[in-house]
């Protein structure tokens, strides 16, 4: 067999390995989703969404859980968006280039890969105990904010880096101050990318269970939260609780709740993709 033939064979082998790898991923996911829908769809109903949890599976709803999720997500966004984008702007535009900023940069990237349970322990130690917030929405949102801050910071920096330097030059040459250039040119041009990063980070936060269990999300909350210092549960914790029950009915409830959670995540990702496309088509250089 000559060399060219062998290369072509390698090419083919690689191609089919690739196809098999992607298909198996998609197939497993499809089976999983299909199974969940098959199990849970019978239980989906308006009552399921608006009912409080109960000892009886058939009367149990996810009202407190998704309300908790909404509260947590709203506060996580309010905290992590300004902090993360602000830090990203600072690091990209203002931080002096020295060993200290390099060190910071590497560590922020590393933080993005720290297991989420560690953030839960940090939240428990700092927010719940030291700052005495208790098992509150605020403590949970702060913990999740810590968890997703690195992702937001990194994606903000990437989005800013993608703005061509010619735009910056043009603005500077007209006598704009540094902040004017950032505010009027850099941020609008990178906003699609920043927003995409933020939404993807939030859709990671929405599925987190472990850190919230550590900071004390309760498995049974009889009332929807009224203020940020209230106790709470969230959808993933509710699901975790239900799947650990022996009764078949609760498993079905869990499947139905998973459908709702998946739906929310898909919608968030869809919004991210939509925003990215919208901004990209507006920003053709």
């Amino acid at each position: 067999m000559n060399n060219a033939k062998f290369n072509r064979l390698k090419d083919k082998a690689f191609k089919y390995t690739g196809i098999i790898a992607s298909i198996s991923g998609i197939v497993v996911l499809a089976i999983f989703i299909g199974f969940v829908i098959y199990m849970g769809v019978q239980r989906l109903s308006w009552d399921f969404i608006v009912q409080l949890p109960s000892r009886f599976a058939e009367e149990s709803g996810i009202y407190t859980a998704w309300m908790g999720t909404v509260w947590i997500m709203v506060f996580t966004t309010l905290i992590s968006f300004p902090l993360g984008v602000g830090a990203g702007i600072y690091l990209e535009e203002y931080a002096p280039e020295n060993r200290w900023s390099k060190f910071l940069e590497i560590n922020i990237s590393n933080l993005a890969s720290v297991p989420s349970i560690i953030y839960g322990l940090l939240g428990l130690g700092v927010f719940v105990r030291m700052m005495q917030m208790g098992n509150s929405i605020l403590a949970g949102a702060l913990t999740l904010s810590l968890l997703i801050l690195p992702i937001i910071i990194v994606s903000t920096r990437e989005a800013i880096k993608a703005v061509p330097s010619s735009i910056r030059d043009a603005s500077n040459a007209l006598g704009a101050s540094k902040w004017q250039t950032i505010w009027h040119q850099i941020l609008p041009a990178s906003f699609g990318g920043i927003l995409t990063g933020v939404i993807l980070a939030l859709s990671r936060a929405i599925g987190e269970t472990a850190p919230l269990i550590v900071v004390g999300a309760l498995v049974y909350v009889p009332f929807a939260p009224q203020n940020p210092l209230d106790e709470f549960t969230v959808l993933p914790v509710q699901i975790y609780n239900w799947v650990s029950r022996p009764q078949e009915e609760f498993i079905i409830n869990a499947a139905a709740a998973i459908i709702v959670l998946l739906g929310i995540t898909f919608i968030m990702n869809g919004i991210a993709v939509y925003l990215r496309n919208k901004w990209q088509s507006k920003m053709e250089w």
């Binding site: 043009a170 603005s171 500077n172 007209l174 006598g175 704009a176 053709e284």
Partner: protein, 276 residues
């Protein structure tokens, strides 16, 4: 601004001959005094001094990498943010050292406009591109802004082509139109100096021709310094020409003279295309 220096002789350190750069006793608008520029250890400009009179067009020519852009960017301090940049010497505009601590860079750049090699309009409407300079100065009077936008677009000979489409996305214009828009944008803040770094090198000959005509027109109001790769362009548009080579100012003088009867062999070789 003041004309204290009108009697001063042009300074041309590397050049033995002292060409008559100041025929009508006009004042010097721009003066470079013993400029050295470094990028870290690398010296990009070597002890250059040169004076430029008001309302004239001066061309910087020379092979790639000889320091034309670096030298040009000294006049609006666009090198300041480059890593490793440092310099010796003085740049005077209207007899004031613009590297003095009392000078605010933002204020300087309102007086000294710049046009870049590649057209770089903002991804905004045509109108907002031209209005930008005024907006960042805090001008709120929309009628004033609109008048200035139209005036600048007319001055840049673009208005007649786009007058019904001021809200159109600037990036949808042709390359030549984009470059004239960039010129209009620079004119809108009423600078007195215009720096142009190879403004036509990304354009087709017809668009380039329009911009050359425009530069000629603008000379009445502005002191223009243009970097160009194109010998014919330098010969066509400029009053004076400076030839740079490896960071040195080899020759500086009347364009006519530089192109017909240069003092230095090196200049001769370059303009006749024997190197570079």
């Amino acid at each position: 601004m003041d004309s204290e220096t009108t009697s001063q002789q042009p300074k041309t350190s590397q050049v033995e001959t002292k060409p008559k750069l100041n025929p009508n006793n006009r004042s010097f608008k721009l003066q470079a005094e013993n400029i050295d520029v470094f990028y870290d250890d690398f010296q990009a400009i070597k002890d250059i001094s040169l004076d430029i009179v008001e309302n004239s067009i001066t061309a910087f020519i020379g092979p790639s990498g000889c320091g034309k852009s670096t030298f040009l960017r000294l006049f609006n301090r666009m090198n300041d943010n480059i890593d490793g940049f440092h310099m010796n010497g003085k740049i005077l505009i209207d007899n004031k050292n613009i590297y003095d601590e009392s000078i605010k860079v933002e204020e300087l750049r309102k007086k000294v406009g710049m046009v870049f090699q590649k057209p770089n309009p903002f991804p905004k409407s045509i109108y907002e591109n031209v209005a930008y300079g005024l907006r960042i100065q805090g001008v709120k009077d929309e009628e004033f802004i609109e008048n200035r936008v139209i005036e600048s677009l007319k001055q840049a000979t673009l208005y007649s082509e786009i007058e019904d489409n001021l809200d159109k996305q600037a990036l949808s214009l042709s390359g030549g139109q984009q470059q004239r828009l960039c010129i209009a944008r620079a004119l809108a803040v009423k600078p007195s100096v215009l720096l142009m770094d190879e403004p036509t090198s990304a354009l087709d000959p017809i668009s380039s021709g329009k911009i050359e005509d425009l530069i000629h027109e603008l000379k009445k109001e502005f002191t223009i310094v243009i970097v160009t790769h194109n010998m014919q362009q330098a010969a066509r548009v400029s009053d004076n020409t400076a030839f740079l080579y490896m960071g040195n100012l080899v020759e500086y003088g009347d364009t006519q003279k530089i192109f017909t009867n240069p003092e230095k062999d090196r200049t001769q070789n370059y303009i006749t295309g024997r190197f570079g």
